[in-house]
C-alpha cells in the first residue's frame, strides 16, 4: 500500500514540476553511456573485450574530469548473442535508461535487429566491426571498415605486390561473406580476371572437416598461375582450416591466405604454428609501432590486469568512436542526439596507427588499410599499408543495385541512400531492416 502511495506521489510530483524542471534535473546527473555487447553465448568470446574497452575509456574520461563538467556512467546490458534480444535491450537502454549514446553490436544480423529501434527512439549507435556495407542510417555511426576499406585494398595488394592471378573466395555461409564475395567477384572481373580463375566456396559455421576443400584449393592452385585464398571464414572454423593447409603441405609462400575475420583475439586461443606467414587485412594491428598504440596497450593491460591481454581492430574502432563522440558533445555543448549527430560530421580524432580518423557525411570514417603477416607469437607483422587513409564507402560501386546510391547526412540532402539517377531518397535503413525481417 505504501509503495503504491509513494509511486502515486512521485508521479504527481513529476507532473507538477513540469518538463523544464526534469531537464534541469537530468543535466546534473551523470551522462549515461549504453553498452550493448553480448557477455554470454557464442559471441561472448569477441564482444566481452569490447564492453571492457568502453568501460576503460569511460573510466579514463572520468579521471580527466568527465564531459561538460559531468561524470560518465556506463549502463551495461547483456543481449546474450540472441539477435531479437538485441532489439529488446536497445529499447531498454533508450526508453528506460535514457542513455545518451550506445556502443555496441558485433554481427550484422544483430545490428539489423537493433536498427529500427534506434531509428524509432532517435538514439545514437556506434558500431565498431568491419561489415559488408550497403547501409547508412541516420542514427548509426560505422567505425569499422566498409568493404572498400578492407577487402578491396587487400585484393589490390595480392594482385599488384604478389602477382596473384587465380582466386579462391572461401567464406562461412552467411550475409557478410556472401556480400563481400559478390563485391570481390565483380571487382576481380572488372580487373580482367577470367571467371574460371575464381573459385567460390561456402562452409557452415564451425566447420571442422576441411580435407576436401583444402585438397580442392591445392588442385586449383596447381594450374601454374599464382593463387591466393581470400578468406571470410568466420571465427574458430579458421583453426582447423589453417591446420589442414599446413598438414597438406600448403605454405604461405605457395598459396597465401588473406583473412578478414582473424584478429589478435581469435589468434590468442590457438596454436599459431601452422598459420605463420598467412595474411590478414585490418585497419589496426596490436603490433603497430606508434607511441599512441603502446600507451593504449599499457592502459589495456593495466585495466584488465592480464599481462597477456591483446588489443584488436574493433577495440581501436571503439577508441576512435568514443573519442569522436566526446569531441562532438564538446562541440555541440550538449548530449542532445540531434545536436551531436550534426556536430560529429567532420570531427577528426587521432587513431592508434599514427594518423587521424575523420567522420564522413555518410557516417563512415577514414581509416588506413594494413596488411599483416601472422607470426608465431600470435601477432601480426605489418607488410604493407595504404599510403593515406581511405574513406568508408557505404554503398559499394561493385554491386548493381548500390552503384547509384550515395549517403550524405548533411542538410539539405540528409539521406542514407539517395539514388543519383532517380534523384530521390529511399526508405531508411531501419525500415529496410524491418521489411527484410518480415
Amino acid at each position: 500500500m505504501t509503495t503504491f502511495k509513494n509511486r502515486l506521489a512521485s508521479v504527481v510530483l513529476a507532473a507538477a514540476m513540469g518538463t523544464g524542471a526534469t531537464v534541469a534535473l537530468a543535466q546534473e546527473g551523470p551522462i549515461k553511456v549504453g553498452v550493448l555487447h553480448s557477455l554470454s553465448g557464442t559471441m561472448a568470446i569477441s564482444e566481452t573485450a569490447l564492453k571492457d574497452t568502453v568501460e576503460m575509456l569511460i573510466q579514463k574520461q572520468n579521471a580527466e574530469g568527465g564531459l561538460l563538467g559531468r561524470q560518465l556512467e556506463a549502463v551495461v546490458v547483456d543481449p546474450a548473442s540472441n539477435w531479437p534480444l538485441f532489439a529488446e535491450k536497445a529499447r531498454e537502454l533508450l526508453a528506460q535508461e535514457k542513455v545518451d549514446v550506445i556502443f555496441g553490436n558485433w554481427t550484422s544480423v544483430s545490428r539489423k535487429s537493433v536498427l529500427p529501434v534506434v531509428e524509432e527512439l532517435n538514439g545514437l549507435l556506434f558500431y565498431p566491426v568491419q561489415y559488408e556495407g550497403e547501409e547508412s542510417s541516420e542514427n548509426v555511426f560505422y567505425t569499422g571498415a566498409a568493404p572498400n576499406q578492407q577487402a578491396i585494398p587487400a585484393v589490390d595488394y595480392l594482385m599488384n605486390s604478389i602477382g596473384v592471378e587465380r582466386w579462391v573466395l572461401a567464406g562461412t555461409d552467411y550475409v557478410y561473406p556472401r556480400t563481400t564475395n559478390k563485391i570481390l567477384e565483380t571487382y576481380l572481373m572488372d580487373q580482367g580476371v577470367a571467371k574460371e580463375d575464381i573459385m567460390i566456396n561456402y562452409t557452415p559455421f564451425g566447420h571442422s572437416d576441411w580435407q576436401n576443400i583444402v585438397s580442392d584449393i591445392k588442385r586449383f592452385g596447381s594450374a601454374g598461375k599464382k593463387t591466393a585464398v581470400v578468406s571470410t571464414i568466420n571465427g574458430d572454423a579458421n583453426v582447423p582450416f589453417y591446420r589442414e593447409l599446413g598438414n597438406q603441405g600448403i605454405s604461405s609462400t605457395d598459396i597465401p591466405v588473406v583473412a578478414f575475420s582473424v584478429g589478435e583475439q581469435e589468434l590468442s586461443g590457438i596454436d599459431t604454428g601452422p598459420l605463420v606467414g598467412h595474411l590478414a587485412a585490418w585497419n589496426y594491428f596490436m603490433s603497430v609501432d606508434t607511441d599512441a598504440n603502446y600507451d593504449f596497450i599499457d592502459q589495456w593491460i593495466e585495466y584488465t590486469g592480464d599481462e597477456e591481454a591483446v588489443t584488436n581492430d574493433p577495440m581501436e574502432a571503439h577508441y576512435i568512436g568514443f573519442n569522436m563522440w566526446v569531441e562532438a558533445v564538446r562541440k555541440a555543448e550538449t548530449t542532445d542526439v540531434d545536436a551531436v549527430k550534426d556536430a560529429i560530421i567532420g570531427v577528426t580524432v587521432p587513431n592508434l596507427t599514427g594518423g587521424y580518423a575523420a567522420m564522413m557525411p555518410n557516417h563512415h570514417i577514414t581509416k588506413p588499410v594494413l596488411i599483416g603477416e601472422i607470426q608465431d607469437n600470435g601477432q601480426f607483422a605489418i607488410v604493407w599499408q595504404t599510403p593515406s587513409t581511405v574513406a568508408g564507402d557505404a554503398w559499394s560501386d561493385f554491386l548493381p543495385g548500390s552503384r547509384d546510391l550515395i549517403a550524405d547526412w548533411r542538410a539539405p540532402m540528409s539521406c542514407g541512400n539517395f539514388n543519383v539517377k532517380e534523384g530521390k531518397c529511399g526508405a531508411s535503413a531501419g525500415e529496410q531492416a524491418k521489411a527484410a525481417a518480415e
Binding site: H207, N247, G249, G273
Partner: protein, 534 residues
Amino acid sequence: MSIPRLLTMLLFVLLMAPVGTAMAQQDDGSGEKLLEQLADASPASTEEALQAIAASGHERARAWLEAYGNNRLSRVKDTGEIVIVLNNRGRDWTVADAVTGENLGEMSRRDLDRIAINNAVRRQLAGVLAMLDLYAEDPEVREEAARDLMGKVDEAVLDPLIGRLDEEPVAAVRNRLEQAVAIYRVEQEGSIEAVDVLAGSLHPRARAALNSAVASENPALKAAAQKALLSVEQKLKMNRAAETLYFGLSLGSVLVLAAIGLAITFGVMGVINMAHGELIMLGAYTTWGMQQLLPGQPGLALILSIPAGFLVAALAGIAIERSVIQFLKGRPLETLLATFGVSLILQQLVRTVISPLNRTVVTPEWMSGSLVINDALSLTLNRMYVLGFALLVFAGLMLIMRRTRLGLEVRAVTQNRAMARSMGIKATRVDIMTFALGSGVAGLAGVALSQLTNVGPNLGQNYIIDSFMVVVFGGVGNLWGTLVAGLTLGTINQLLEPWAGAVLAKIIVLVFIILFIQKRPRGLFPQKGRAAEG
C-alpha cells in the same frame, strides 16, 4: 629473374665455403656492415643486400637469413644495433646480438624496430635456403630442397644444378633434380627427351610444363607431350579416388569415435544421454590440462591424456548416472530433458571456471604434416592417427563386450533385467559400470578430437547430433552397426562434397538418413530375437 641470380651467387659461395669462413673470422666489421645494408635497404635494393649476405660466407649468414625470414631481425631504435629477437611474447622481448649471437637480455618492444620483409623477398629467401639444403647431409632434406626447386630453375642456375646432379649419390634426389631440369628444358628449349623424363611425374609443375608443350607448334613435341599427359591424367584420377576414400574414412572415423560411446549408453543401455557431447568436451579439456601440466612435451601429454581423459569422462559419467539418470529409469523423455540440462550446466561450468575462449591444444611434431605417397597423394598424419585410434577403441570395446565378465553381465542385464537380477547379477552396479564405460569412451573421443578441431565450450554440441545419427543409422545396440554406419556416412559425405559443397552435402546426407529410417526403422543392423523387443 632474381632468384636464380641469387642462387648462382650462393652456389659460388658454397664452392668457396672454407675460404669464405676464414675471411669472415678475420674481418670483424663485415657482419655489421652486411646487416646494416639489409636494414637500410629500400624495397628495390633488398635483393642486393641479401645477395651480399649470401655471398659473404659469414658463419652466421644462415642464422641471419632465417631470422629475417621469421620477422625476428630487429634494430634497436636508439643505438641502431641489429639484434635477433629470441622470444617475442609479451611487452619485453629477449634479444641476442645478431653478429655475435650473444644474449643481450630483455628489451622493451617499444625500443625495437623490425626489419621488414615481404612475401616476394621471402620467396627469394626460400629459394636460397633450398639451394643451401641441396648440400645438406640428410638425403631427405636434399630431396625436399630439390622438390622446392621444381619450376624455379632458370638459365643462370642450370649449369651449377647439372654439376650438382652428377655428384648426387642418392637416386631419389637425382631423380628430382632431373625433373627440375627437365621442366626448364621442356618450357624453354622444347626438348623431347625432357618430355620423357616428365612422363611419370605427378608433380603439378611437371604437368603444367607438359600442358605448355601440348600447346606448342612442334608436332613431334606435341605428340610426345600428349602421350605423356595421358598416362599422367590416368594416374591422377586413381590418386584422386584414393584420396577421396581416405578423406571419407577419416571423417568416418571421427564419427565412429564420437558415436561409439553413445552406442553403449544409448544403444545398449537405452539411455538418451544429451550430455554425451559434453563428455567428449571433457576429454578434450583433459588433453589441454595435461599439456598445461607438462609444458614442452605435447606428445607425452597427449599419450597420458588417453587414460586420463577416459578416467575424467568416466567419473563424470558416474556422477551423472548416480545423480540424475538412475532416478529416471524407463522415462526416456524425462531423461532426455534432464541430461540436456546437465549438458548446459557442464558447458557453462567450463565457460565460468576455465574460459569462454577456445584453448590451445598443441599438435605434437610426430602428428603434424603428412605421409607423402607420391606428388599427387599425401595422407595427413593427424587424421591417420585418429583413424587408427578409432579402430583400436572399437576393437577394445568389442573385446570388453564379448570376452569379459562385464560385457556378459551388460548383455544379460539389457536383455532381461529381472532375470539377470534373479541370477545374482547386481543390476545397479552393471548400470554404473556400463555408463562409465560409455562415458569414458566419449572422453577418448575428446582426446582424439582435440587434435582435429577447436577445444572450447561448444565442442560437444557440434558432435551430439552426428553421434545420434550414426547410432540410429547403424542400428541401436549394435557396435558393428555403429562402425559401418560411421564410415559409410563419412565416405558418402566426402564423395558428395566436391560437387555439392559442404553445406549441401550435409543436408543430402541427412535427407538420405531420414529416408533410410523410414524404410528400415531399426537401422542397418537391427537387433534380432528377444533383445529387439526390450
